[in-house]
């Protein structure tokens, strides 16, 4: 009896195999690329990870007699596990239905549970209408897990096709969003619905293209030329990050700074405080001469935010960029800065702040944009950030903007000023006008008196030694010492028995 059963099961095996192979074949047929797309959902996942390491989870999951609409799985990037959810536009245009949402949520739960970064490859027309409110319920579930994941793991969104309606909110709840030019689009309502609702005639690029979102709106953080470049950028981004909150930092081999940039440092910053220069050259003279990744390079360009390394250790760099809008702080650049600092703090990346700030941009436009609220986000982000915070004032730091740029009072572990720096409650021009109003009004030659008083103010009030004597900068240093001082401080601040605090 027992024996004959076993024989009959063995006899059925070839049948099972055939059926499984059929299913798999059917599955691969379903993911053929369409339209402008270069690669299938599965190929994208395979290309993202180290060669041959991708393993698909629930490959046979099905909906409406077809695929689930998403390829989920895991693989290795530089030998470390990551979880991937890659929308399959060949199934109902990647529209998110009940089953697809379940598959994405399973991937999210896996990533959170195991502490692995997750990469979402987005290519979706939005909610799957035939699934009705169950599709909306599923989208909401994805959002909830996006938020939950923020507390645990890095989340990266690649926009490789449309990302419309409900689908557009998920990337906005992740850490960094990368869009492919001319191919990735994000909008709540596409051109057709806009036309019907308001009569506005717009193209997909105008209402949700990579240029709009990486320059104007700030919804996306990097624009790339191809699917391949998007996948490579995600790998580069992850190379600076631990796998999870509290995870080990990815220390590489120390590389010296570019020697030519180091040599140029002492003469780089123009003596005249009103003349602009390129802060990138200054950063080159401090960081390791190796991989960098600047985020939001074309949005709110008066603030630079980038990942790099110092003595092999990944760091987040924040800097004023005098070459763009004078390096001012305003509502938009505050949001950009606060978001970056918050991210670095969450993932334990040391925050290096380079300061040359004329102030917060005054005026009705900025006040109307809520610069107070957005500026306050910067203050909160610095205070909250638990990672090491090092700040150097390289030229000027005036007023509230001095505080906002990672001042000692916000919890900076070490602060320095270059010997020619000016730190003061106001710039010399404004201070002299305020303090000597009567004398200036009575003067025969007000311009000469103003210049004289401004020079006096610079010498007596704004000199970095005043700040150093008060203990609000730790030391006054020469430009070429910056790298060494920062590296020494990081060695001290990251040394802790039993791992980082």
């Amino acid at each position: 009896m027992f024996r004959s059963d076993a024989v009959s099961e063995v006899e059925q095996l070839p049948d099972h195999r055939t059926r499984l192979e059929d299913r798999r074949q059917e599955r691969f047929r379903r993911v053929e690329p369409r339209g402008k797309r270069v690669h299938t959902a599965r190929e994208r996942a395979e290309m993202l990870v180290d060669a041959g390491s991708f393993v698909e989870t629930t490959p046979l999951r099905a909906a409406h007699g077809g695929g689930s609409g998403v390829v989920t799985g895991w693989g290795l990037i530089d030998g470390r596990p990551v979880v991937i959810a890659s929308h399959d536009a060949a199934v109902a245009s990647g529209a998110i239905g009940e089953v697809m949402a379940d598959a994405i949520m399973d991937a999210q739960r896996l990533a959170i549970r195991r502490g692995y970064p997750i990469v979402y490859i987005n290519d979706s027309g939005g909610a799957r209408v035939p699934d009705g409110i169950l599709a909306l319920h599923g989208c909401g579930g994805i959002f909830a897990l996006n938020v939950e994941a923020q507390r645990h793991i890095p989340q990266i969104s690649l926009i490789l096709g449309p990302c419309a309606g409900a689908a557009a909110y998920s990337p906005a709840l992740t850490d960094w969003t990368i869009m492919v030019k001319g191919q990735g689009h994000m909008f709540l309502t596409g051109p057709d619905i806009v036309k019907a609702a308001t009569g506005e005639d717009v193209t997909a690029d105008e209402i949700g293209g990579s240029r709009l979102h990486t320059e104007t709106s700030g919804v996306a953080h990097l624009e790339v030329e191809s699917e391949q470049e998007a996948l490579e950028s995600a790998r580069l981004l992850l190379s600076f990050l631990p796998s999870r909150v509290g995870g080990e930092q990815r220390i590489g081999d120390p590389v010296p700074a570019n020697p030519r940039a180091v040599d140029a440092l002492p003469a780089l910053v123009p003596e005249k405080a009103s003349v602009v220069f390129d802060m990138n050259q200054l950063i080159d003279g401090v960081l390791d001469n190796g991989a960098r990744l600047e985020l939001m390079p074309r949005h709110a360009g008066s603030i630079l935010t980038l990942f790099g390394r110092l003595d092999g250790r990944p760091v987040g760099v924040v800097a004023n960029q005098p070459a763009c809008r004078g390096g001012i702080l305003d509502a938009k650049s505050s949001v950009k800065l606060a978001r970056f600092v918050e991210f670095c703090g969450r993932f334990g990346l040391p925050i290096l702040t380079f300061v040359d700030v004329p102030g917060f941009l005054p005026g009705t436009v900025e006040e109307g944009r809520g610069v107070i609220t957005h500026g306050a986000k910067v203050l909160k982000a610095y205070v909250d950030a638990a990672s090491p915070k090092l700040t150097v004032v390289v030229r000027k730091a005036y007023g509230g903007a001095y505080i906002a740029m990672g001042a000692k009072s916000l919890g900076a572990d070490m602060t320095w000023a270059w010997s020619n720096a000016e730190i003061a409650v106001m710039g010399p021009g404004g201070a002299v006008a305020l303090l000597h109003r009567r004398a200036l009004a009575a003067a025969e030659d007000p311009t000469a008196l103003r210049d004289e008083l401004a020079a006096e103010y610079r010498e007596n009030v704004a000199r970095p030694y005043v700040a150093a004597e008060a203990g609000i900068v730790d030391d006054v240093i020469f430009p070429e010492e910056t790298r060494g001082r920062m590296a020494d401080a990081l060695r001290m601040l990251t040394h802790s028995e039993g791992g980082p605090r």
């Binding site: 009103s274 602009v276 809008r325 001012i328 004329p358 005054p362």
Partner: protein, 75 residues
């Protein structure tokens, strides 16, 4: 017509290009003074300065056109 535009609110401190001047992309056509900083207004593309649209001392808003650049004539 392509415009060189103010990237920030400010006072036109100095106009550095003259009508008819050839410019390369990134060349300054004027310098604004804002927050005691000298902020260049640059040509977005190569061409000739066909018209200057502001005077020195004038207050301009973010996005205001400062000069017209005719890109059809090579720089």
């Amino acid at each position: 017509m392509i415009h060189a535009r103010a990237e920030i609110v400010g006072n036109v401190w100095k106009i550095v290009a003259r009508e008819g001047d050839p410019v390369a992309a990134g060349d300054a056509v004027a310098i604004l003074e804002t927050m005691k900083m000298e902020i260049p207004v640059v040509a977005p593309t190569a061409g000739h300065v066909s018209r200057l649209l502001v005077d020195e001392g004038q207050i301009v808003q973010e996005g205001d056109p400062i000069a017209e650049i005719d890109a059809t004539v090579g720089a």
